[in-house]
Symmetry: C2
Subunit: 431 residues, 2 copies
Amino acid sequence: MALVVQKYGGSSVADAEGVKRVARRIAATRRAGHDVVVVVSAMGDTTDDLIDLAKKVTPLPPARELDMLLTSGERISMAVLAMAIHNLGLEARSFTGSQAGVITDSAHGRARIIDVAPGRIRTALDSGAIAIVAGFQGVSQDTKDITTLGRGGSDTTAVALAAALKADVCEIYTDVDGVYTADPRIVPTARKIDRISSEEMLEMAANGAKILMLRCVEYARNYDLPIHVRSSFSQHEGTWVTDGPVPAISTPQSSQEATVEQPIISGVAHDRSEAKITVVGVPDTPGTAAQIFEAVAAAEVNIDMIVQNVSAAATARTDVSFTLPKAEGETAVAALERVKAAIGFERLEYDDQIGKLSLVGVGMRSHPGVSATFFKALGERRINMEMISTSEIRISVVTRAEELDDAVRAVHTAFQLDGESEATVYGGTGR
Amino acid sequence: MALVVQKYGGSSVADAEGVKRVARRIAATRRAGHDVVVVVSAMGDTTDDLIDLAKKVTPLPPARELDMLLTSGERISMAVLAMAIHNLGLEARSFTGSQAGVITDSAHGRARIIDVAPGRIRTALDSGAIAIVAGFQGVSQDTKDITTLGRGGSDTTAVALAAALKADVCEIYTDVDGVYTADPRIVPTARKIDRISSEEMLEMAANGAKILMLRCVEYARNYDLPIHVRSSFSQHEGTWVTDGPVPAISTPQSSQEATVEQPIISGVAHDRSEAKITVVGVPDTPGTAAQIFEAVAAAEVNIDMIVQNVSAAATARTDVSFTLPKAEGETAVAALERVKAAIGFERLEYDDQIGKLSLVGVGMRSHPGVSATFFKALGERRINMEMISTSEIRISVVTRAEELDDAVRAVHTAFQLDGESEATVYGGTGR
């Protein structure tokens, strides 16, 4: 008997039929003898509908009240899910984030979990009940106000609860069968990954793979918690994210054998959400680059890749390029314009027509030929690499936005990641 | 400067426009210098929609989960209302029943308030904010589960909070201009009552007037709290329910002078929700009536009027009739059938085609002619009275259901309650 935490996204509980389908899956897991804690997102478009309602009364909803409003979405889904499980003859009790002991800071709309005190969840489990917990929400330690965790918050709730309860596994149910070697919408022959290390999953998530949010993978890694990403629309085995052995948990839908050998490459991630800023004609003197990035950091802009060109000897000036989220582009440009005179650069170039491709795999460490194969694949397709950055287990390049899909397919094929059949995609994504 | 508690029903906040209209009214009260606490119901049909959703997953939703589900309705309305007030440049903070300190027993769906500990509301007021509180809900003392108060729950929340905060007035906003001398849908010339004693209001509420729930009037009476029932759709002065002087609170919409003389009769209430059970052929021996009503009480059926006929001397048998809510009719009949042999009565007659009319007024105490006028009015219209019951300030009769409207009009006219113009009715009713 194991303790299983399951998280279901909004697309899995989009309507009453979806709720009943999920209830049957939860009941089957409970009947297999496991303790079950379920974290659930708001049903389907509920969150968007609530935001629309707020916008009807004010253009700028105060963050505290927006959190109060949005958390009603999970309140609905968790209560209805508990009812549906009841209807299958099992005891289920729903809990708000606050009741489940999810303690956060006071940053409304993007709160961070400070502590998890799941006493009531434990009591419910001990009495034989299934605990249903509202994802995405908590209560602030200082003000006791209701908070939301921001994007991907329900995944984080699930992983944090699983860690606090010392669960055997955290199952993240979504609308695809697991983590793929590339986005199946771009690479139809992408294969589902059976198992991936947390380090690789972190690189995938940080570089554009949307299936798991970065902070949720970080959390699981810190607590050595195995995550099983799988589809709520099928009975297929999903993707295990774990550094240890795959847990031998017998659930009705799961009977995974441990993968014996780790492949060299796990997959290809891509990202269209970044822009590039080039600072042209920067005096090539010590400390100038630091001034540039201090100005950007002071504006709370997150930068990703950085490239400094070789100085043109005749002018003693150079160009510095970096990438950043498009959403922060305006802020960064404004911050740099303010220090233009002090730094003495010539001008700024802003380019939001870029794409980023990342190849991820722990096998890179011991296989020196990887980068050669990677660059050859792009060169053969005449795809220009504007920036390059690497980590021990990742190579990322920036390309023109319109060449990104082609680049992803080229690299995916070059590393023999293509499967024999086309991947199945079910619908939207939850929060 | 006064402390004003305002309650707005679901029809007052049926959509975004309604929320904005209510927000303007609240803001005007705050800007007049008063501390304002607002209790709000769920928007429009939200509660019905949520119940429909629950019924889609189970025919019998567990009470705890139904409460969790339904309370999301007020969570939405209170957050949106707080946002709308914010948009008018005033600080507003929303609180769930639990956060507002509404402590109840554990009877899900019909919880009773045990205690109100409004510490957070007081803090919000002290900081200059308007406090918005979810009506209809609380948290159970023992299990810390979310509860709902049942029908009229938001009114009870408002009155209980007003009492705990020692508010100067509790304003109950609804979709009619106040309490009327009769239901304006039956008596178009019914007049709005300017002022009514709590005792009379109790009798009106207990005998079918739906504008205020009985328990809310009881609560206000126990705490000597003036209630002002008024419309959120107009600026008219409403009805004051108070035994003391009408408070001199200068709100933008209110400048009532105290009524000098109390009228003899306040109004006519009617009720179509009852049925009549007649136990035929009851042995006329001491203790038999007690056996009948013990059996009914054991089935938790609430009975209202009781009539025992004079015994027919020849048979030493009599008939006992009583009225009860139609909803409890089946239960009562079953309970009586079970004791039929033990008591030895002949048969049961069940009649749900009855109506009840009640004339209410404190002036009855000192005006002995009231009952004569009352019976004469009905007699002239040839309306048969099947049962009669009286209190010090009330006369009630049971008539055929189809004669009830006619009876209400006859009595209303006989006591010269008719006004000069027709009453205004705005819409549905909130919870």
